[in-house]
Symmetry: D2
Subunit: 327 residues, 4 copies
């Protein structure tokens, strides 16, 4: 934003008024025409009209938003009757990979009794190594859908390929785009065209603006709403697998008024930190938490070390529930 | 950690047992002598004896900790009668810089009535530019001490120079080492020798191990306890000034059992995100929050855009208080 | 790697021998069975047999490589008769986007006279914003192919969608997978099946191991060779758009013996740094440089600020040529 | 920079003219008074007067530099008769720590015969662990000075403490401030007051602007010139210890016209990448390279894995020499 002052204005007093509004001045510079104050990039919802009223301000030039459809979406996304919103955060739980029909049914049954709204599970798995288990594919979609239906859960699962969009859209209520595909624009367009709501995970090192613009792709091409998901960005410390950016969550939730889910399982990469980070995510304004659980983590085909044992989910949901009610 | 198996052991079953304990296998490799499983770096408190009991495990080699004194410290640091611990998180509030005697007395009075335990304020300021206000120095220490005493507050303030340690130690209850000095080993030694408790801010891109080792320097050289402070690390997104790493807070608090304070003001760099990040920090297990406030943020000599107006502190403390009581 | 010592071995002397070979010891730990030395992750080609010969070493356990096909590929990839190898680095030049038939013909003509081997140009453009120019698509492929053929150039261009692989493979000699798609595993598989050589750009924050594993996907699924391309990773400094990681280039080129091209245009994001970074890339061992040029940078439909004017390419190629001959 | 247009100006044509000059437009915005074009942060030496001449531009507001003394310093720093400048890059070599008088004399003798200009060596060592070897202190300074004098070398060594400035200034020609102390403002002031030239290493995650401002501190407080040193910033890949930022080197050297030395030893953390990164640093415009060497790397008291054996220095200097002459 560029704020131009009246010739007679007191520069210091305008800077004070801007700072008092929580804005940061990037620099002040003068030319023949007057003094310009340029504000630091700031995703705040500070109204231009409010700045224009400051004594000494002659005019304010603000760039148009690059993502008007996302700005207009609002803080609630409805997924087949379940509202995703920070007013009443939801839980999305399930195994990293759907490993068998028996497994997903057992998990769905337990979760259904705990107030969980979404069953998550990988049918198509993005794996760093070509030799790792790649998921049970279409078969797993059907298992998950049937297990979820039986227990009143919605289904959220990842789409990896443009070719799989139809199959996933047939079984899932919320289509997930994973962090490795946040800027796979061909996939974003294909997923959007299915017309369903989409959960968009943040890429490993995406800026918030890039994330919002990826969401804009989805809305421009027809998605029925965008839920954002923060799952940790690339950090430098091996003690935690990723770096959960709750500043981004607070910003999306409280300034942009958008629904954002927190995934503490992938952020931490280790089970013992999941409950604390789930609680912190909700405290920062998340509209939900996505948590991996497994009936036998030692035998998990992927990410067992970060899975909460199914037997421990009741206690975890209870601890989160208190916080969800208090949110 | 290196886990060596019995010749007849079932490798898969040992890996499952390790994963079930939340441990991540870095790699498995065999030599003439048997199979070795190397675990990924993991700051967990998983007992070697517990791993040794897994069927098929012949021996476990674990490196000694590099910071035995920090490991032995425990989760509570007493600062002249105030316990810093995640059991009952404290609030440390005050202006970025101590600007006048009048100002700090007014702020101390308000904070004293709100249940705040520590008065913070900069006497010696680390400023990126040599032309920026560098603090009122020794004079400000006396003002702060007197204001704090009058309202039953403890004083926490930063030491910038080896030469100032005595003056700061005379007036402060808790000596702060700033993030830019986390690995200023000459300062760490000088501060430690004062014998008082020290609050050690994490450097902009320090690993947790480097942070713990800096704490070890303090204890080796005589500090009366170390409180850690997470204030956000260097990120890549201009929308938030720094990246608050609550995974590190959860790890220090819940796995290492050390007291860690969260500073949402410097993390966010913008006022509107401070309350959400303060709440998230407490939810992650912080032993306290450090929050900048100012009686007139527009006139602040430094960091006004991130200061909570003094008039808004009652509401903020109330919102945190509920969470502190519930912690 | 885990090095186990003989009971009577002198631990210090073994550590010295390892260090003398340039290896870094992560930790030393003992169990009932003896002393283990675990080496830090190190992509070095240090032979296990060489370590086993150190006096005092009983056995060495080294994990199998996770990317055997990439390890076996070798340092040269042949692209329709042009060898990409650090022995005689190639130049890949052209506009960010192919904007018209006229433009690409003019550029190809100039480049063909300067010793450039590859014509680059975007037909399908990955754009952060859905409202930005997305490329002229299939039409641009034909323009580029024809212009390249006329001047003896090879074609390298990016594939964005699984659905475009056939069209791109028909016109391009080297198929480029962009940084945003490095872990788009569906695309990697589809591109690989075309059987042609692929240039794989590193993702914004990919580790070298993740990059090599993405290359492994390509070879497992049939690609006719993998050329890596370092184009800068996500940094925190707005003065340069990305952070060119020439340590990674040196590692791939000199330790892994793989061909890696450097893209200084995207790394710098600003024209004035391109020549210096191109020279530095070659000095670090690159097998080529990819440089954006435009006949009229001010009118470029994308990335004009980083394009070298076509009129300046002769001088740039001359300065690189000296270095390429000296490499 | 804020560019304001004439009411009748063609906005697109001005943007083209700016882009043609290699500038990046951050955003364009209009207010009642006209159209403003804000340029992205860009450390370029683009003259305001040149922009003002573009047709359609009414005025240009550019912020004053925050580091006028650094801007005015120029590209050459004289260290007791040795000019540090990218025109004729120097070599600074020696052991990580000065371990004995005998060692440093042997090393100085070899280096003196190889065209090396500076003897480097640690007397006071910043060590991550309080239990690691901390250097031989004042004694080592004297050993180094005497060895350097005997072979016509200058001495560069690090100051860790305000209390050691006098002792170091007595023996060293160039005082080094390490990366952990780049923003230790008390040390910067104390070192500057000694009046000698200073080599300022970049902090692990400092922006270029922060680095220049730390240099400004030195000049404001009396330093006899500032040489910058890039030694790698914090990265996320364990395969290389740090991330050598040669974009920053190119920027400082070619745009800011300041002398900057590259330290490939600390950047790589492994010997096998040092020669390639040293060559790349020189190609990017460095005014020198700082390289660790040891007569017996396996016995080095610190950082042995990155030290080039003294016996290999002739070959390395030869390979760099060709490049230094060609620079």
């Amino acid at each position: 934003m560029v704020v131009t002052l009246h010739p007679a204005a007191d520069r210091e007093s305008v800077v004070r008024a801007l700072t008092a509004r929580g804005l940061t001045v990037a620099f002040v510079a003068a030319d023949a025409d007057g003094v310009r104050i340029v504000l630091a990039p700031h995703s705040a919802a500070v109204a231009v009209s409010d700045i224009a009223k400051i004594e000494g301000v002659r005019s304010v030039a603000a760039p148009a938003s690059a993502h008007p459809k996302i700005d207009a979406q609002g803080p609630v996304v409805d997924v087949r009757g379940v509202r995703i919103s920070s007013d009443a955060p939801v839980a999305m739980c399930g195994p990293c990979s759907v490993e068998s029909e028996r497994q997903i049914r057992a998990i769905a049954k337990t979760l259904g009794n705990l107030g969980v709204s979404f069953l998550r599970g990988g049918a198509f798995k993005p794996r760093t190594s070509p030799y790792a288990f790649q998921g049970h594919g279409a078969q797993a979609l059907a298992w998950m859908k049937s297990a979820a239906d039986e227990h009143g859960l919605r289904v959220v699962t990842e789409v990896l390929s443009e070719r799989d969009v139809d199959a996933v859209a047939e079984h899932a209520d919320l289509l997930q785009v994973g962090s490795r595909n946040m800027q796979n624009f061909a996939l974003l367009k294909a997923v959007a065209r299915a017309g369903k709501p989409v959960m968009l995970k943040r890429a490993m090192s995406a800026t918030i603006e890039e994330w919002l613009l990826a969401g804009e792709y989805l809305l421009v091409h027809g998605a029925g709403g965008v839920v954002f998901c923060e799952r940790g960005i690339r950090g430098f410390d091996p003690a935690t697998r990723n770096l959960l950016d709750l500043g981004a969550v607070a910003l999306l939730s409280q300034v942009h008024r958008l629904p954002v889910v927190v995934d503490p399982s992938h952020a931490a990469g280790r089970r013992d930190l999941v409950p604390a980070l789930a609680r912190a995510g909700l405290a920062a304004g998340a509209a939900g938490v996505m948590i991996e659980t497994h009936d036998d983590p030692g035998r998990a085909l992927s990410d067992g070390a970060q899975a909460i044992p199914l037997s421990g989910m009741a206690e975890l949901m209870e601890s989160l529930g208190a916080r969800r009610r208090a949110a």
